[in-house]
């Protein structure tokens, strides 16, 4: 990376437009990144951030507009082109081969001749030292933590000589401490003249790391501002397009009765690894118990074992003093335990993608009516009511839910679960992929249930939200509980330490 390039334009996008069918994903977007700076691309879900970046990395081709690299117009028609031009993209979902070592993953797909492992190892270590990355080139990917994997992804593009880095929501899977580490690396790259684009919707991170911010809204580039001259509130308003309040309510409720007791629960995954290790906790009525933890710390298994979808190895789960471990999922549903679990692909469990809202409403109640036939009428009415109450946007209640946007799908799912009048609501990542407005609507829905004395187990990702919404927070690390703390008396950093294995006593005692 030559010093002379500093502050010259790395990428210029001019009037970029991209249409998918009838959806205009990008419309007349202008963007400019210089060498030696970090540009944050800020926008709500569906504002076209990822589409734009995918065009820069050669996955899509723009319908209109020009892309200039180092001041010269280029056509990027495949990812190899992007690589040749020095653009490296680090995707949200890692693209690594699990059974290969870091080293193998880094050279995979490069066009050069095979290098001796010894020389290659040195080459990789040299690059890592240059930017302050920590990596063991011989370690297998599957033995790595999330942040280690991300380091390998970054090394992969650096090894290919990328001078322009694009990171798609890189902090979504990291603890606060890991995020700090990543930002230190990015800053060191900036010092050495790289151009960095970071996609994010976490405002404080944008304020923390970036030099300039480009805001996208509904596929259009709204404005580019210097980070030093703005604040979180102003950015939100530009992103959403109108003034918003960013406070989440935490209503106080009266009665707290134990509704679910989990005693020494141990659960093994199918491959024999321990998912939950001697977990004990209680949930009370009228309470939101937040669950924090790095992805894959046992959240999924916790939900599924309570819902009766996963065999339990040891321990007991008492619902109103009644053990539910041997019960079938349908018996557990009858008890009033409702789970809305939204895995990565959102439609994987809970909703049937190709069916409309009506048929999805049927999912948990279809077997109740008499006779061999299903009765769609009450469900169509329910669907229509939900559309009105929750402001769900859909052409028709018979439109397949896969054609609906993420926020609306979440509303359908949560709306149905709430309609079933549960006394315990398990909800995992209910705002994943939602815009700010819809997210707050979901928080309101949960709070309303809390006021009705429903017990809520809330598996969350965003620590800020967990801290504001929950009454208590339970932190999971490698399937163990590292602490259950009062949400009002804990800081984000303390939760972060507990997420990586420190016990609550140590963390809180030190303060």
């Amino acid at each position: 990376m030559e010093k002379t390039q500093e502050n010259s334009c790395a990428i210029q996008c001019q009037g970029i437009r991209k249409v998918f069918g009838t959806v205009v994903a990008n419309d007349n977007i202008d963007l400019e990144v210089r060498y030696g700076e970090i540009l944050a691309l800020l926008g709500e879900n569906g504002s076209g951030k990822t589409t734009l970046m995918n065009m820069l990395s050669g996955i899509y081709h723009p319908d209109e507009g020009r892309i200039l690299i180092d001041g010269q117009q280029v056509d990027i028609s495949c990812p190899t082109d992007a690589m040749r031009l020095g653009i490296g993209m680090i995707h949200q979902h890692f693209k690594l081969v699990d059974v290969f070592s870091a080293m193998d993953n880094i050279v995979l797909g490069t066009e050069e001749k095979k290098i001796k492992p010894k020389i290659l190892r040195q080459k990789i270590l040299d690059i890592s030292h240059q930017f302050g990355l920590e990596v063991d080139p011989d370690k297998k990917i599957r033995q790595m933590s999330v942040s280690e994997k991300q380091t390998v992804e970054i090394l992969k593009v650096l090894y290919r000589g990328a001078r322009i880095l694009i990171l798609d929501e890189p902090t979504a899977v990291l603890t606060p401490q890991e995020t700090e580490k990543l930002f230190a690396i990015l800053r060191s790259m900036r010092e050495q003249g790289a151009a960095i684009i970071i996609i994010s919707h976490k405002l404080h991170e944008v304020m923390d790391i970036s030099d300039r911010v480009t805001i996208l809204r509904k596929g259009k580039s709204i404005e580019t501002v210097n980070t030093a001259e703005t604040n979180e509130k102003a950015l939100t308003e530009k992103m959403v397009g109108r003034p918003v309040t960013l406070e989440i309510e935490r209503p106080q409720t009266e009665k707290h009765e134990r509704i679910l007791d989990v005693y020494h629960l141990t659960v093994e995954r199918e491959d024999g690894t321990t998912a939950l290790d001697d977990v004990s906790f209680t949930i009370n009525t009228g309470e939101i118990l937040g669950v924090a933890g790095v992805a894959g710390s046992g959240q999924k298994e916790l939900c599924e074992s309570i819902a009766g979808l996963m065999p339990v190895k040891e321990g007991a789960i008492l619902h109103k003093k009644q053990d539910i471990i041997r019960k079938t999922p349908s018996e557990i549903i009858e008890l009033g335990i409702s789970m809305s679990f939204v895995p990565e692909d959102r439609l994987g469990m809970g909703l049937v993608a190709s069916m409309g809202m009506t048929d999805n409403m049927l999912l948990k109640t279809y077997h109740r009516g008499k006779g061999p036939f299903i009765d769609r009428k009450p469900n169509r009415e329910l669907a229509e009511r939900l559309v009105k109450e929750l402001e769900i946007v859909t052409p028709d209640v018979e439109t397949p839910v896969r054609l609906m946007s993420g926020g609306n799908v979440q509303k359908v799912l949560l709306g149905r679960e709430i309609e079933s009048d549960p006394n315990l609501l398990i909800t995992a990542y209910p705002v994943r992929g939602l815009d700010i407005n819809s997210s707050y609507l979901i928080y309101d829905l949960l709070n309303e249930q809390k006021k009705k004395q429903v017990a809520i187990l809330f598996i969350g990702e965003d620590l800020d939200v967990l801290l504001e919404l929950s009454d208590r927070i339970m932190v999971l690390c490698h399937g163990q509980i590292t602490g259950i703390v009062d949400a009002k008396e804990v800081t984000k950093e303390q939760i972060g330490l507990m997420m990586t294995g420190s016990r609550a006593e140590e963390v809180l005692g030190n303060e």
Binding site: D75, R84, E331
Partner: protein, 367 residues
């Protein structure tokens, strides 16, 4: 820097043609597209016939007239439809569940074998009773044969495609075993064969065609209603879409898989009964004769919708009957029917791509 400039050149132009997503077509648009694909398939078929040195218009004409020139021709054509329609409906149940039942062939045969037992050894029963017993026996036979791969799938997660496919050969050779051994007709000299069914064990004729066509039509309605309006049909669709969702909703996925495969195999078994007791009037090794495989094509072309399946069955039967006439009239090999079927399949399935995607050609003078 020089190297970079070079790289930039190498980065190349916008590709001449690229694939882009389009707005999902309306029902009407999709229908037009499919009709268009069908016409294109006929055109491609015409080129194929032309290459063989025949006049495609003449051949198409003969195929059409061959099926409709007389009442007898129509009856023969309908006779071809019966096993194809019934087994395609059977397969549909399994396919809706995304259980790839390639074993209709074997299930047809098993149904025929079970029914033949009663036809051969209990034909003293009153006619309506005997026919009913044969149909039930055929259903149970095909169903049990369908249950085998379903059981292993549910228990050990075996691959149902390979499993059902291999069971076909077991079924086929079971007939050979019976024909050469215990069920061999002692009165038939020369090649071993199974005795002809008595008139008592033969399906009645309605409008000159064996009664199987009534069973087929009833099944079209029953399956359509079952899939769309029954709880079990709903379960099948949910399991097909996502087993995780089905379990989440409290469904017993294993039970549903077993039940559905029993029904799927059972209906294919009924197809076997109709073929043996209605058309062949004996149990021959050719009782399935590839119908179980053609049924897969028909079910797929018909989007697993019973009414559409009826339409495609009709069409395939016309093609089949017509090409035998074309063979006798012009000497065109009857295998040509299979080639034409293949061409149609290619075009109709290929056009599904264009329902969601389109080609975009590079605009001139962009650079």
């Amino acid at each position: 820097m020089n190297k970079q400039a070079e790289d930039r050149k190498k980065a190349g132009k916008e590709p001449l043609i690229r694939i882009t997503k389009r707005a999902e077509l309306s029902v009407r648009g999709a229908r037009l597209l499919r009709i268009g694909a069908f016409l294109l398939a006929l055109a491609a078929g015409a080129i194929f016939i032309l290459c063989l040195g025949y006049n495609p218009f003449l051949i198409y004409g003969v195929i059409l007239s061959g099926s409709f020139r007389s009442a007898m021709a129509v009856q023969a054509m309908v006779k071809l439809m019966i096993p194809l329609l019934i087994s395609a409906l059977g397969i549909t149940l399994a396919f809706k569940m995304k259980f790839w039942n390639i074993g209709a062939e074997g299930q047809i045969i098993m149904g025929a074998i079970f029914a033949s037992y009663f036809a051969l050894f209990h034909d003293q029963l009153p006619h309506p009773v005997l026919i009913l017993v044969m149909l039930v026996a055929g259903f149970v036979g095909g169903g049990l044969f369908g249950l085998v791969p379903a059981y292993f799938k549910a228990k050990f997660n075996t691959n149902e495609t390979l499993f059902t496919l291999m069971l076909n050969y077991i079924a086929l050779n079971t007939i050979v075993l019976l024909r050469d051994g215990p069920w061999r007709d002692p009165e038939s000299p020369g090649f071993p064969k199974i005795a002809r069914f008595s008139a008592n064990a033969t399906l009645d004729r309605v409008f000159g065609v064996q009664a199987g066509w009534i069973i087929g039509l009833i099944l079209v309605v029953v399956i359509a209603v079952y899939l769309k309006y029954s709880k079990q049909g709903y379960e099948i669709r949910v399991v097909g879409e996502s087993q995780a969702t089905a379990r989440y909703a409290g469904m017993n996925v294993k039970k549903i898989v077993l039940r559905t495969m029993f029904l799927s195999g059972g209906i294919c078994g009924v197809a076997g009964v109709c073929q043996a007791a209605g058309s062949d009037i004996t149990l021959a090794t050719s009782v399935a004769g590839g119908v179980g495989f053609t049924a897969i094509i028909v079910a797929w072309l018909g989007h697993l919708e019973p009414l559409e399946i009826l339409l495609f069955t009709f069409f395939f039967a016309v093609l089949e009957k017509g090409s035998t006439v074309a063979q006798s009239t012009y000497g065109l090999s009857s295998n040509c029917a299979s080639v034409l079927q293949g061409i149609i399949l290619f075009f109709i399935l290929g056009c599904e791509f264009f329902i969601r995607y389109q080609f975009t050609v590079r605009k001139r003078g962009v650079r």
